[in-house]
Symmetry: C2
């Protein structure tokens, strides 16, 4: 059963300050909870509606939940819907601990630096894409949207449980260090080297900066760029959405790795 | 000046049936109106707030507006904000005619078929990406979200003015015809040929199907696929967002064209 104190606690987790204070966040929907279970992430408790309990997805989740000794209970539709931030909630939520990530110490071979990404949908989609392409180190400037915000968590589809590094860090503390270590700092702009001709074979890894949707890469982060790259396209068109550009660049970079290694 | 009848008309255009009835839609923001002006698209009238008139962007738009004899006037913040569907409106809106597109007759060399794409953000992002990669023929199943919906229009960033073909058409009437004409029908699934090894050199063009976010490609459209393709990624991860997958595939396909032509 969900007590009214618990409902209040869960609702409070829609605010960043309470997420940080309690080091908890909410997972909504089967897929996300399944990804957390597969990653053996720390889940405190799961609540599901009577109706959702009949779903075949629940049948798939239940053995994993029991196996990991996670407590679960039935909760009324109305309550789940109130706690859920999604209009089309699936009638299942979980309270989970924010995973523990490694602190930045030595330079990862492949990483991303999110510089002022403010749209939760874009942030979530970039995280999902990064995980798909096997990038385990994702850093962000402190002015990015909080990645434990429910909308980010929903669009990231479990990527949060995949990363080793996942840290808010100012560019001076990250990009300067990476550059010193011989890592190429890549930034995408309208005018730059076409990614078709990019060659990473002489580098000690790379870090891709993805900038904010409205302002692009900030000057302070841009100063560290060693290779300005571009995705060639139609003249006069409005470039690409940051998550699409990120996807194309990560795909190109990880394919390059395959070719050059 | 905006009469109350005009305000009512403009607000009604947030509903699909009124957009179809009047064959009009609303453009919000400088960039979008600029793209429409550059495409010489039919704009009935523009309204701007006093404050936005001081923006340097307005200074850039004004000569084009005057050159095309489009009438414009000042409107109160409150009214523009009421009509605008965006929370962060830029204080400028335009009433425009839905562009006239060619009907499908002969098979385009490169095209996209959107199959049940229901999220306005995804639809808009795919359109923006298609325009960036020079795809002029974009078809959609009738159950897709209406592409003249304000959220789609905002995310598409002017792509609506770039296309030659832009039509709702059932798969039997399009994909069957394209297939007969020798066009490769490409569909992305988890298991398929890696796009790294794709070769389009023996084909009379291609049509890429992009499916719905929740259900993927429908069975009825899937039946026409000649080449099942895949973007290799991390095992156990939740695939890619449809607009990101679309971006990577379009980038790969249009780069292939460069190589093979």
């Amino acid at each position: 059963m969900l007590s009214s104190a618990q409902v209040k606690q869960l609702k409070s987790l829609h605010q960043k300050k309470f997420r940080r204070l309690e080091n908890k966040f909410i997972l909504e929907g089967y897929r996300l909870i399944d990804q957390a279970l597969s990653a053996k992430s720390e889940i405190d408790e799961i609540w599901i509606t009577k109706k959702s309990k009949d779903s075949p997805f629940w049948g798939q989740l239940l053995p994993k939940i029991e196996n990991q000794n996670i407590s679960w209970s039935i909760a009324p539709n109305k309550i789940i819907h109130q706690i859920s931030d999604s209009l089309n909630d699936q009638g299942i939520i979980a309270l989970a601990s924010i995973p523990t990530y490694k602190k930045y110490n030595q330079s990862p071979k492949q990483s991303i630096y999110l510089d002022g990404v403010s749209d939760p949908g874009n942030m979530g989609t970039i995280l999902r894409t990064a995980a798909w392409f096997g990038i385990k180190s994702v850093f962000r400037s402190p002015d990015c949207v909080d990645p434990f915000n429910s909308k980010v968590v929903r669009s990231a589809m479990g990527a949060h449980f995949y990363f080793s590094h996942f840290e808010a860090i100012i560019e001076e503390n990250l990009l300067a260090e990476l550059k010193k270590a011989g890592t190429k700092i890549l930034g995408s702009k309208m005018k730059g080297q076409s990614i078709h001709t990019l060659d990473m074979s002489d580098s000690d890894g790379w870090c891709l900066i993805l900038g904010s949707e409205s302002h692009g890469i900030s000057e302070s982060a841009g100063n560290f760029i060693t290779n300005t790259i571009t995705i060639p396209g139609t003249k006069g068109m409005e470039s690409l959405n940051v998550s699409v550009a990120g996807g194309i660049l990560l795909h190109a970079l990880t394919s390059l790795e395959v070719v050059t290694n």
